[in-house]
């Protein structure tokens, strides 16, 4: 084959080749060690010396031309491949990815953590207290004597006939336990589970969660209490809410208050605030001198405030949960949502 035909043939084969491996094969056949160009070159020594130079140049030119074609084609194929890769053929952007399975933390845990973090950042200590509690801590030391009518309001589960051991009806007993083990000043919170002996329905359960707070220091006043409660509400709702303090009677505080906040869910009345625009959120007050004394603290020197926050209620408010019993019935269809 003469070089011109060879080049023509090479051009045809290279031009129709779509594959890098096949192109390598063509390269080997044409310009490889045993390829066509090599055989052309091998014949040169046999030629008449006058022709050798010209034929040599011719063969080298052929080789260069073929190499050029190969390089060009290779680049084309690579560019085509990239184009094809970029075209993303058959890709369906709406195809659902495999379900990401995850576990979950109970909504009570989530809200408890938020509040713990908020209070810890303000130097409060987080305390734990027993759920099976001595009557002494749950009632007596909190200024609620045996026949105090306030015991009615807290339907109590009794663990023995003598009424010495009860399921705590509030987290307030932790107040006394905290005072017994600490020297003022101090500030603590105690989230936990509490119990009331009452029939359950969508808005009442016999087991629910509260968080107690107690601050003891010098000259603690109602003004400090208001400030602390506003900070707490800001932490919960992420903005300032108007609050109002009104008298509320709890034997372990004096004066005692109910703190209402402007309903964060409506401008002018909704089902959450029962059309009043206020939601009752925090029973609180200055610690009763008798309670300080029961905790071994001199009320002439020290004073304090305490508050209680319904965590179950807060979780329900926050997520719009319509039945409190979901919180404790272990249904994954509920738990998975958090």
């Amino acid at each position: 084959m003469n070089p011109a035909d060879t080049l023509e043939e090479a051009r045809r084969r290279i031009g129709t080749c779509d594959d890098l491996d096949a192109l390598k094969e063509i390269e080997r056949e044409l310009v490889g060690r045993k390829g066509i160009v090599a055989s052309l070159l091998a014949e040169i020594p046999k030629l008449d010396p006058s022709e050798r130079k010209a034929r040599g140049q011719e063969a080298n030119a052929l080789k260069q031309a073929i190499l050029g074609l190969l390089k060009e084609r290779r680049e084309e194929i690579e560019a085509g491949r990239l184009d094809a890769a970029r075209r993303a053929e058959g890709f369906d952007p709406t195809l659902p990815p495999p379900r990401a399975r995850r576990g979950s933390l109970h909504p009570i845990t989530q809200v408890t953590r938020e509040l713990e973090d908020l209070f810890v950042s303000m130097g409060y200590e987080v305390l734990d207290g027993p759920e099976v509690e001595l009557d002494h801590y749950n009632f007596e030391a909190l200024n609620i004597t045996k026949d105090h009518p306030a015991r009615d309001a807290q339907d109590t589960f009794y663990c023995d006939e003598e009424g010495r051991l009860v399921l705590r009806t509030h987290t307030s007993p932790v107040q006394i336990r905290a005072m017994e083990k600490r020297e003022p000043p101090f500030r603590v919170i105690a989230p936990g589970r509490v119990f009331r002996q009452e029939t359950t329905d969508a808005s009442h359960d016999h087991t629910f969660y509260q968080m107690e707070g107690l601050v003891v220091g010098k000259d603690i006043s109602v003004a400090h209490l208001i400030g602390a409660m506003k900070t707490l509400l800001r932490g919960i709702f992420g903005r300032d809410l108007e609050v109002r303090l009104r008298p509320g009677h709890f034997p372990f505080v004096e004066p005692g208050f109910e703190l209402d906040a402007r309903c964060p869910f409506c401008p002018s009345g909704c089902s959450v605030c029962k059309q009043t625009t206020w939601i009752e959120l925090l029973p609180c007050g200055l610690v009763h001198p008798n309670v300080l004394r029961m905790g071994g603290i001199d009320p002439e020197v020290w004073s304090g405030f305490a508050f209680g926050l319904g965590l179950s209620r807060l979780v329900m408010l926050r997520h719009g949960i319509d039945d409190v019993r979901h919180l404790l019935d272990g249904d994954l269809r509920f738990l998975e949502q958090f």
């Binding site: 810890v120 130097g123 027993p130 759920e131 099976v132 663990c159 601050v215 220091g217 004066p255 272990g330």
Partner: protein, 818 residues
């Protein structure tokens, strides 16, 4: 408690005070107002009509056709079915468009061919009484065309106050007490109330005071006033309307007046028929019940009594359960005119105990249990007698009131420091204002020392002194609430900065929660502390010591759990119905009464329970694809990531009832005295009882971790190890051994063969089958050989395998080709 505004106006001027304003002010200064409603709102729409004429309906004998003047251009034609309608009457007319109770709208209609443009109403149609025999005939003086409520002056607002917010305020259980608060809030005078007993008009023969003997400490004062000349009959309208407004059904004069005095002054009282008393025995005796005694109360119930209960007796015969309810025999007979009014003070705790035990709460017991002022009985007797005398001129008081008991005036004096008030409220209230507020609330205030000193002696009137006000701090509340807490500016707290002490328990709880809800994909559950007897029975744990409540809400759920994992078991069935793979954990408290401390507190344990249920793995699944083993590795991860080292598994430990007898392992750590965790398959016998058989047949792995022990475990880094200087070689080796050889033993042999060059051993396959033969198993390991001195070569690997082969040969095993 329901409070009528019109009633309040008997005691204090409410001019210019709107009902809404009053509710807000009471809420902010006194007690929680739960609701405000218009009394009988239909009376605001129904107008006074004058029946101009009444004719028989031409086509219906029982109906009348009336023309009723209602102040419009022309009288309205109204067809009326009542037998008592008559020309000339003033009546209550619901005009067309008026909405009556029960969503009943009056429309223009034709009754048997005659047009009717309204309705003449009965009291029942207006929801203010039961009578339905005829229409309500209004007094002659009622002005035609006016709303009935206005014409009769009975328009009223009723305020509902939350009883719970009054538990500490015996003085607020009557209208006068509320009025006293209102007077203080609005700085208006409280109208004086005359309560001295009216004049005694001795009969013939003259009568001695009624004998009363108190034989118990449960009654500190007993006032008895004989009354003659009163016959039971209806009460006057003013009294009926006030009672109706607060939701009391008027009955007859004596009952109504007794209720009125209670709702006015907050002092319960009782009217006995003297003839009835005399038939039983002369004289009242107040005593404790005797063992085995009982009384039939007015509600017809037979009540079994205990010696702690108080009785009012005529002679020896019980006639009333003191302070709670009269006896069936104490009713006033229709014909008698001779009565005995009882007004007494009973011990609050005694009344409360009896009333709670008998489940008998009455308006009377609710008041007595709040500790009533012992000064009240005489005032209430006087109030009753004066009202009665005004209503019933024939009433006479034939003998002086008996007044016995060893009561003491509870009024007291408290030292008050103005500085203390200012410090507690956080507001600079002037001494003058402190004094002024207290005086508005009927405290008497004397300044001590010089006036600027701000020291006071505050005299607490008896009606506030029985329970509520005993300390300086109580006066602070009085000042704060009347001044209004809303007037106090918030202040920031100032404390020395110090981080709170390290809280390892809370850190651990968060660590476990995050790890489990994260990579392990468990869902956190919280379940009840009570555990069902039926579940305990299935588990065979019913005989274990449990704390139990004596008054459970659900009958078989009185026991408090002593372990957390069982609480998760009932949730498995329901969840397996909805979800294939169920992973739950719970961190909670559990109680062991057998380990109580000397104060009687049971031992509290903090436990993490885990339950994992799902379909059984296929036959082809790898050895580690079962939940027990996966749970083991989750537990290892939990403790390692907490910083504990070398978790050890052992089969020796206290197996819980839910655990499979063979597949049960305990996790031990350096430090605590016992295992930190137990992990096991579910005891197979429990699966059907838990609903996990048949179509819900499940592989269930369970675990429980004791947080208290985990907190005792040693933690801390293992220290930095220099990176290997020479590359290691990874040798994969499969070894066939008899079934009886435990993996641990085999791993020991590999370590021995490696001569301290074994840097890591990891099992990656476990195989049983034809190619290893019966009674044998094959375990395949990745073994990493590494030296600190040189690069290991093929030669080292060969030597290792030779040594291993020899050791295995001695133990009945062999290396298989890989």
């Amino acid at each position: 408690m329901r409070v009528s505004m019109r009633w309040l106006e008997r005691h204090v001027d409410l001019a210019d005070v709107t009902p809404e304003q009053l509710c807000d002010d009471l809420t902010l200064s006194t007690a929680e107002v739960e609701g405000l409603e218009r009394f009988a709102p239909s009376l605001d729409d129904v107008v006074v009509g004058h029946v101009v004429s009444r004719e028989k309906h031409p086509d219906a004998g029982r109906l009348s056709v009336c023309r009723v003047e209602v102040g419009e251009d022309a009288p309205l034609p109204i067809v009326c079915g009542a037998p008592n309608v008559a020309a000339g009457q003033k009546v209550a007319v619901a005009r067309v468009g008026t909405l009556l109770p029960g969503d009943f709208k009056i429309k223009k209609s034709k009754i048997r061919g005659i047009e009717s443009h309204g309705m003449i109403c009965s009291v029942r149609e207006l929801d203010i009484g039961e009578e339905h025999d005829g229409i309500w005939v209004l007094p002659e003086s009622a002005e035609v065309g006016q709303a009935v409520s206005r014409a009769l002056g009975i328009g009223d607002w009723v305020i509902e106050i939350d009883n719970k917010s009054l538990t500490h305020r015996p003085d607020l259980w009557g209208h006068r007490g509320i009025a006293r608060e209102v007077a203080a809030i609005y700085e208006r005078p409280l109208h004086p109330l005359e309560t001295t007993l009216p004049e005694i008009t001795p009969g013939t023969p003259p009568m001695d005071p009624w004998p009363v003997a108190i034989e118990t400490t449960g009654c500190s004062r007993y006032v008895a006033l004989p009354i003659d000349g009163v016959r039971p009959g209806p009460s006057p309208d003013w009294l009926r309307w006030l009672l109706l407004a607060v939701g009391q059904r008027p009955i007859d004069l004596l009952v109504d007046l007794s209720n009125f005095v209670m709702l006015d002054l907050g002092q319960p009282n009782h009217v006995f028929d003297r003839n009835g008393l005399e038939r039983r025995g002369r004289g009242i005796v107040v005593r404790n019940a005797r063992a085995g005694e009982s009384i039939e109360t007015l509600d017809g119930e037979m009540r079994k009594l205990q010696p702690s209960d108080l009785l009012i007796c005529a002679g020896d015969e019980p006639v009333a359960l003191a302070g709670i309810m009269g006896g069936e025999g104490s009713k006033v007979a229709e014909t008698t005119g001779s009565l005995l009014l009882e007004v007494a003070t009973f011990d609050a705790a005694t009344i409360r105990r009896t009333s709670t035990r008998l489940g008998l709460r009455t308006d009377s017991s609710a008041r007595f249990e709040k500790s009533l002022d012992p000064n009240l009985p005489m005032a209430a007797a006087g109030h009753f007698a004066r009202l009665l005398a005004a209503i019933e001129p024939a009433a006479r008081f034939p003998a002086p009131a008996t007044d016995v008991g060893d009561w003491q005036d509870p009024s007291t004096t408290i030292e008050l420091r103005g500085d203390r008030v200012r410090t507690a409220l956080g507001k600079a209230l002037p001494n003058e204002e402190i004094r002024h507020i207290l005086e508005r609330l009927a405290f008497e205030v004397e300044a001590e020392g010089s006036p600027d000193e701000g020291r006071f002696r505050v005299h607490v009137p008896s009606f506030r002194a029985t329970k509520d006000i005993t300390l300086e701090q109580d006066l602070v509340e009085e000042i704060g609430r009347i001044h209004r807490y809303g007037q106090i500016e918030e202040k920031p707290l100032h404390f020395d900065i110090a981080p709170p002490p390290r809280d390892e328990r809370r850190q651990l709880v968060r660590h476990l929660q995050d790890r489990l809800a994260g990579g392990a994909r468990f869902h956190e559950n919280l379940s009840y502390t009570f555990i069902d007897d039926a579940l305990l029975e299935k588990l065979g744990d019913l005989d274990l010591p449990h704390i139990s409540v004596i008054n459970p809400v659900v009958q078989n759920e009185s026991r408090i759990r002593r372990s957390v994992t069982p609480s998760l078991l009932p949730a498995l069935e329901t969840n397996r119905r909805n979800r294939t793979d169920v992973r739950l954990f719970e961190i909670g408290k559990a109680y062991e009464p057998e380990h109580a401390n000397d104060r009687g507190e049971p031992r509290e344990r903090h436990l993490l329970g885990l339950a994992w249920a799902g379909p059984r793995p296929s036959k082809k699944a790898a050895y580690h694809e079962n939940r027990l083993m996966r749970l083991q590795s989750i537990l290892e991860d939990l403790v390692r990531s907490w910083g504990c080292h070398e978790p050890r598994w052992t089969a020796e430990g206290p197996r819980p009832s839910w655990a499979h007898p063979g597949k049960c392992l305990f996790l031990e750590l350096e430090g605590p005295a016992g295992p930190v965790a137990v992990v096991a398959d579910l005891e197979p016998g429990l699966a059907p009882a838990l609903g996990l058989s048949g179509d819900l047949d499940s592989e269930v792995a369970l675990a429980e971790v004791c947080l208290d022990r985990l907190l005792e475990a040693e933690r801390g880094g293992t220290g930095y190890k220099p990176l290997p200087r020479f590359p290691g070689i990874k040798v994969d080796v499969a070894i066939a051994v008899p079934e009886s050889m435990p993996a641990a033993e085999l791993i020991g042999l590999i370590e021995e063969a490696g001569r301290r060059q074994v840097a890591d051993i990891e099992l990656f396959d476990l195989y049983r089958g034809r190619s290893v033969g019966p009674g044998r198993k094959s375990l395949a390991f990745h073994v990493l050989l590494q030296s600190e001195k040189k690069t290991l070569t093929d030669k080292d690997e060969r030597k290792f395998l030779q040594r291993l082969g020899k050791l295995l040969g001695d133990a009945g095993g062999e290396i298989r080709g890989i």
